[in-house]
């Protein structure tokens, strides 16, 4: 199954290697990995998406916690969450062929962020399936895709959790207050 781990790690040299090495050792391929600053000074937030057996989740979480620089780990698993991905897609398009791309961008509620005589760059934020969808129709269209840059998944649990609350949750706090939501639908188009 697909696992999504959110980890708060100390913002120090080599920490990414330690986390990545743990997955490598288990011979698990990481689908996507995003790292950036978090709301807490000195801590980075990672979202790691990987394919592994259902039982592996516990062991991966437990092993991540054994790394000295890992402060907090949440195994999002099937919990209600908001997941987004950002993609930049550069498409070959001349003034003559642009309009078709414009239309698709409109339909997918993406944006054009760069326009050059021979190409244009689309910025698209959404769930993975929507990005895949845009890529597919672009491939079917006239404009050749020149480059794709995808951020990988960014995930956050729904509801009033701050990272500090995650700890409390892992010892069985009441989750009933959460907003139930089916993810994956094209809701929320920021």
């Amino acid at each position: 199954m697909l696992h999504t781990f959110v980890a708060y790690v100390e913002d120090l040299p080599g920490v990414l290697t330690r986390v990545a090495s743990l997955f490598r050792r288990l011979n698990i391929n990481i689908h996507s990995l995003t790292v950036g600053r978090s709301e807490q000074a000195g801590l980075s937030r990672m979202t790691v998406v990987c394919e592994a057996s259902a039982e592996a989740g516990h062991r991966i979480q437990a092993s991540l916690y054994k790394l000295e620089n890992v402060v907090e780990v949440d195994d999002i698993a099937q919990a209600p969450s908001v997941t987004r991905e950002l993609a930049l897609i550069k498409v070959a398009a001349t003034p003559r062929t642009r309009s078709q791309v414009f239309e698709l961008v409109e339909v997918f509620r993406a944006r054009i962020v760069d326009l050059a005589p021979e190409s244009l760059t689309i910025e698209m934020t959404g769930v993975e399936s929507k990005i895949e969808g845009l890529i597919q129709v672009l491939n079917e269209g006239e404009g050749r895709i020149l480059e794709i840059c995808r951020s990988g998944k960014l995930t956050m649990r729904r509801g009033h959790h701050t990272s500090g609350v995650l700890k409390a949750m892992s010892v069985g706090a009441d989750e009933s207050a959460e907003v139930p939501a089916e993810d994956g639908a094209a809701v929320e188009q920021e």
């Binding site: 040299p13 080599g14 290697t17 330690r18 090495s21 050792r25 039982e55 516990h58 062991r59 979480q61 437990a62 092993s63 916690y65 054994k66 790394l67 000295e68 907090e72 700890k167 892992s170 010892v171």
Partner: protein, 582 residues
């Protein structure tokens, strides 16, 4: 902690020292009195500063030996062992020793020098990325390039090495950091408190469930592992066993955690465990795993492992729970603490019927008391080890290498006390024994230390004989010389149609080799000579080597071949077995 040296460091007013001095001052503060190492360019400032500090440095002959000595020091005493090496080849030579400590959860701290921070990553002379190399075989490691970071890193390293499930930590210090100065303030360098693994948890309901299972079990077995020794839970395990009359099976690294002579002690489990131990486990309706990790050498095939048994797993490392064997009641915490919480819920139980059944299992396997066997002119390793046990009263620290002799040691030397068997279990590192014994002797100078080593493994680290000579320490060495890489030969015999490829081994005359180091020795060829030779070695003032020329093609029985069910054992071919009473 709490030693004079420690107090001295604590009272030491903050002062400006070089990074090299800070290394030693911090070690002194951590209570270190002995280190094992080998110098070189990138660690020279540290060596230059040594004379100012009350620490004894043992010069090893290979850095692998330094790591094993630190490891043996720790296993014998429970303290953190320290190894020191230079950059590049010095550091890489440590790796086998570090991995050995990692696989057996032994707290050691390794300090390496590295090239100056300005040239890090430039393939400078003797530069190697040792923090990268050791990342998967350490609990944690540090690359330090500023003098002011040295004390906090070393103190943190000690904390990590000792805490929860112990293990090795490496601190790599660039040469310029050793040469620079900083204010040394031992107190200020104290690490933040150790964070308890958030997934450690022992719930009331779990304790109640465990107590209920124990109460109702008809055929319970305690699986006693190394964690008992690490946690210091010998008394608690014993109380549990005695109160509920539960027999105890031990892992290799658990030997000594429960007295061998205790009526409830079954012996060692697993690949070379006695048949009744494995039968008891396979027939059990409840397994209480204490500080053990269901290693493949103790489970045999996982699918057929103790299928009738409910399982309680008391373990400090959450990542070990449900890793190999799915358990019914995980109690994730420090073993001693968990048992202390559990024991008030355990009342006395009648275990007689089950113990009698297990005695029945023993009936069909020969009793392994071999001391009264006739001397047929053959010398068996079992004889040798049995005699060493008898003559040392089971009180020596035995440090074994890896191979057949290691398993015979486990079968024939009966350990009453924890930390009296020092052996590389998880990694199975040949060459471990001689250096580890040196470390053990430094940790426990008043104890009798014996090395039991194969002719193969001995040659891997025999250079440390010179270390023994230089340090003038008393260690007795029993080479179980069968002319083969015996354990591999045994696998070839059983599983590769006796194709003894690359296992017969020509060796030097070990007695002459010892002699060349100024160490006395004797060759023993018959059973009749064993006892006297052992006594000669013991009473000799210095180190002594006994070269036991044993039966060449003997095998370790019983054996569960890898991947077989635990109760499917290869037994010693019947009939004329000189090791078994009829």
């Amino acid at each position: 902690m709490g030693t004079d040296a420690n107090t001295q460091a604590l009272n030491h007013p903050p002062a400006r020292l070089t990074g090299a001095e800070i290394v030693w001052a911090t070690l002194v503060g951590e209570g270190v009195t002995d280190v094992f190492g080998y110098p070189g360019g990138a660690i020279l400032p540290v060596y230059d500063a040594l004379r100012k500090f009350p620490i004894h440095h043992t010069l090893v002959r290979h850095e692998q030996g330094a790591a094993h000595m630190a490891d043996g020091y720790s296993r014998a005493s429970g303290k953190v062992g320290v190894a020191i090496a230079t950059s590049g080849p010095g550091a890489t030579n440590l790796v086998t020793g570090i991995a050995t400590a990692m696989l057996d959860s032994i707290p050691i701290v390794c300090i390496t020098g590295n090239v100056s921070s300005k040239v890090l990553g430039s393939d400078a002379f003797q530069e190697v990325d040792i923090t990268g190399i050791t990342l998967p075989v350490t609990k944690h490691n540090f690359l330090i390039s500023r003098a002011e970071d040295i004390a906090p890193a070393i103190r943190y390293a000690f904390q990590i090495a000792k805490s929860a499930r112990p293990g090795p930590v490496l601190v790599d210090i660039t040469k310029d950091a050793q040469q620079a100065t900083a204010i040394f303030d031992f107190e200020a360098a104290k690490p933040r408190p150790h964070r308890i693994h958030p997934m450690r948890k022992v719930e009331e309901s779990g304790l109640a469930h465990a107590a209920e299972l124990i109460k109702n079990a008809k055929r319970p077995v305690i699986l006693a592992g190394h964690g008992i020794i690490e946690s210091g839970a010998m008394e608690q395990v014993r109380t549990l066993a005695e109160r509920a009359q539960i027999p105890v099976a031990l892992t290799l690294l658990g030997l000594g955690a429960f007295p061998a002579s205790h009526a409830l002690n079954l012996g060692m489990m697993g690949m070379h465990g006695e048949s009744w131990v494995n039968h008891a486990i396979q027939d059990a309706d409840l397994l209480i795993a204490c500080g053990m990790r269901f290693d493949d050498r103790v489970t045999g095939s996982v699918a057929t492992y103790a299928t009738k048994a409910k399982k309680i797993h008391i373990e400090v490392d959450p990542a070990e729970v449900n890793k190999i064997i799915k358990v019914d009641v995980p109690l994730i915490g420090d073993l001693r603490e968990v048992l202390e919480a559990l024991l008030p819920r355990i009342s006395s139980r009648d275990g007689a019927a089950w113990l009698k059944t297990i005695d029945g299992f023993k009936g069909d396997s020969a009793v392994r008391d071999i001391k009264n066997l006739p001397d047929l002119g053959h010398l068996y390793a079992a004889h040798v080890i049995h005699d060493i046990w008898r003559i040392t009263g089971g009180n020596a620290i035995i440090v074994t290498d890896v191979g057949q002799h290691q398993m015979w040691e486990a079968q024939y030397y009966h350990h009453e006390q924890p930390r009296t068997l020092i052996t590389s279990g998880g990694l199975g590192t040949m060459g471990f024994s001689l250096p580890a014994a040196i470390g053990a002797k430094f940790a426990c100078p008043e104890k009798e230390v014996w090395v039991i080593v194969g002719d193969g493994g001995f040659q891997m680290t025999a250079g440390e004989l010179a270390t023994i000579a230089q340090e003038g320490i008393k260690i007795n060495i029993a080479v179980i010389n069968n002319g083969y890489l015996g354990m591999v030969r045994q696998w070839q015999e059983f599983f590769y149609e006796r194709n003894y490829e690359s296992t017969p081994m020509v060796s030097p005359d070990f007695v002459k080799l010892a002699d060349a180091h100024g160490i006395a020795g004797l060759t023993v060829r018959t059973r009749g000579e064993v006892a006297e030779a052992v006594n000669t070695a013991r009473s000799a003032p210095g180190a002594f080597l006994l070269n036991f020329k044993v039966e060449k093609e003997d095998s370790v029985y019983p054996m569960v071949s890898a991947g077989s069910a635990l109760h499917e054992m290869i037994r010693r071919p019947g009939g004329n077995d000189p090791l078994e009473e009829s």
